[in-house]
């Protein structure tokens, strides 16, 4: 890629990310929908653990997991399904028409979403921590932060790959996302340590990067974290790096492939599917 191409794509990435970053400031309703409501299921699980007199770290597991659901929700509805809306509004046609790489559109969407999600997760976690009086025992703030960022990157890479399918499919793909929601909430151990599922199912769940990211963050942030570890933190970080690269490469490949099929079959500009 030439320098001009790179600059063009970087400008495109920033412009697409800008929509989401600005959106956070201009739509304060997200405070209710994305902070208050997610706290409700977190509280439910926290009260269950509390009534069982479970160690307070378990409450911390739930609050961290509950806060991280924002990432998965954002990937499903803000990333993957976004191409469906982009096509309905006519934006997808214009994205395809412009000289910037379509991958840059996806990266821009992911960065914009990642930025807003980053704050949502932290704020939700801090509120939950305050309500339930959770004490953190952070082994390494650097690695905790790095794992958090890496998890967001890996999950959004998966989201970019899923978004590619919306170049070709309409509501069918949307239904598939609905199917993905609850099972992923379960498999990724949002509200319990994933080790409980056993290694075979845990390994399968590890294809969803949030599973390993959450497990590693629990190990790094809570005293009882290492006792419930599915895999060592270093291994989980390495797998997350590998998954990020794999899903990013997958997104790039699928986007090119599906764009070609879309052009061949005339589906890029087809609305009301």
């Amino acid at each position: 890629m030439s320098m001009n191409e790179l600059i063009k794509n970087l400008r495109g990435i920033w412009a697409r990310a800008y929509v989401r970053i600005v959106g956070v400031n201009r739509e304060p309703s997200w405070l209710i929908f994305e902070l208050f409501f997610p706290l409700l299921p977190i509280c439910s699980f926290a009260f269950v653990y509390k009534s069982m007199n479970a160690p307070s770290d378990y409450l911390g597991f739930v609050i961290l997991g509950g806060a991280m659901t924002a990432i998965w929700m954002n990937v499903l509805w803000g990333m993957a399904a976004q191409f469906f809306w982009e096509r309905e509004s006519g934006n997808l046609t214009l994205y395809m028409l412009c000289p910037m790489s379509t991958m840059a559109v996806l990266v821009g969407m992911a960065l914009g979403s990642g930025f807003s999600t980053f704050f949502r997760v932290i704020i939700t976690f801090m509120i939950g921590k305050l309500i339930f009086g959770i004490t953190l025992h952070v082994a390494s703030y650097f690695w905790l932060f790095a794992t958090f960022i890496l998890t967001i990157a890996a999950v959004f890479s998966l989201g970019m790959m899923m978004a590619s399918f919306f170049l070709l499919y309409g509501r069918d793909a949307w239904n598939i996302l609905t199917v993905f929601m609850e099972p992923v909430f379960f498999l990724s151990g949002f509200y319990f340590p994933v080790k409980t599922l056993g290694y075979p199912l845990g390994a399968l769940a590890s294809l969803i990067p949030i599973t390993l990211g959450l497990d590693a963050m629990r190990q790094l942030a809570f005293k009882l974290g290492p006792d419930t570890a599915f895999l060592p933190v270093k291994t989980e970080i390495l797998i997350l790096v590998a998954l990020s690269a794999l899903y990013l490469a997958g997104a790039k490949y699928l986007l090119k492939k599906l764009e070609y099929i879309g052009r061949r079959e005339g589906r890029l500009t087809l609305r009301w599917q």
């Binding site: 400008r11 495109g12 412009a15 929509v19 959106g23 739509e27 028409l97 000289p99 052009r263 890029l268």
Partner: protein
Amino acid sequence: MSIAIKTTDLSRAFADSGAKDKNFWALRDVSLEIPEGCIYGLLGPNGAGKTTLIKILSTLLLPTAGEALVAGYNVDNEYEKIRPIINMVSGGENCGYGILTVAENLWMFTQFYGIPTKQAMAKIKDLLEIMNLSEKADTKINKLSTGMRQKMNFIRGFVTDPKILFLDEPTLGLDVNAARETRKFVTDWVKNASEPKTVILTTHYMQEADEMCGKLAIIDHGRILANDTPKNLKKQEAGGVSYTINVAYRDFDPQILRTLPGVSSFAHSVLNEQGLIEMIFNLSDDSALARIIEKINSLSFSINNIQKKEFTLEDAFIKLVGRRLSGGEGDTL
């Protein structure tokens, strides 16, 4: 003159959902050469294949057969070289993000073309002024009326200064004045450009095509039926010129005029109340009129009225397609 767009036997089929294993041909063997620096019109009824052709030329759709070159690049495998030099505006478009302002939306699209922000904002400011949209620059687009939104879309198409611009029903939703301003803007943009600009325009408005296009193609059922300047199309397809001549009918036999050289067709009717006979002549050219007048005068009859009928593009269209552009199936002639 260089060629901006060239298609050779271009065809596009879609799977026909109504008939198994059968294809519906949206375009069939379209061969066109569109010169640089002109406004080229595509006229045709709904479903004629205009938008399919534009989609192929703008790299959004692959042809099933044949070849299409845009600025010398093949739409099939050189689309990455075509995209930086083209843009497209469609009527009734709903693009952009409601949460962003007009200026922000336009800026966003310029970034996809790699235009530096300072340069882009200066261009946006100019175009907003030209399109009388400056005061809405900081308004979120979800607060705009349909017409204003269409103006914004229109600016989006020009702000990247494309070499080739596809306008698909661009004045749809605009009021009369805004449509007139828009047409003038496009015409001036092509005329005053420092480097050749080419516009491919599809429109349902016959007058718009006639006024703006240097050349146009009439397309129906995926095939090009005619391809020429509006003037030539009117002349060739509508069949020369037509005159209506009224003469006092006492003892006048109009049949003697039927065989005069240059008279292609002739019809007459009697207007009893006025005591006139009305004759409609289709002539191969204007020179035949002199012979008719001379003949009438030589028979000592006085001509009450002569009226020239200007053939319109619509006459040519109806002759070629068999129905009006603006009408549905019920308008089939």
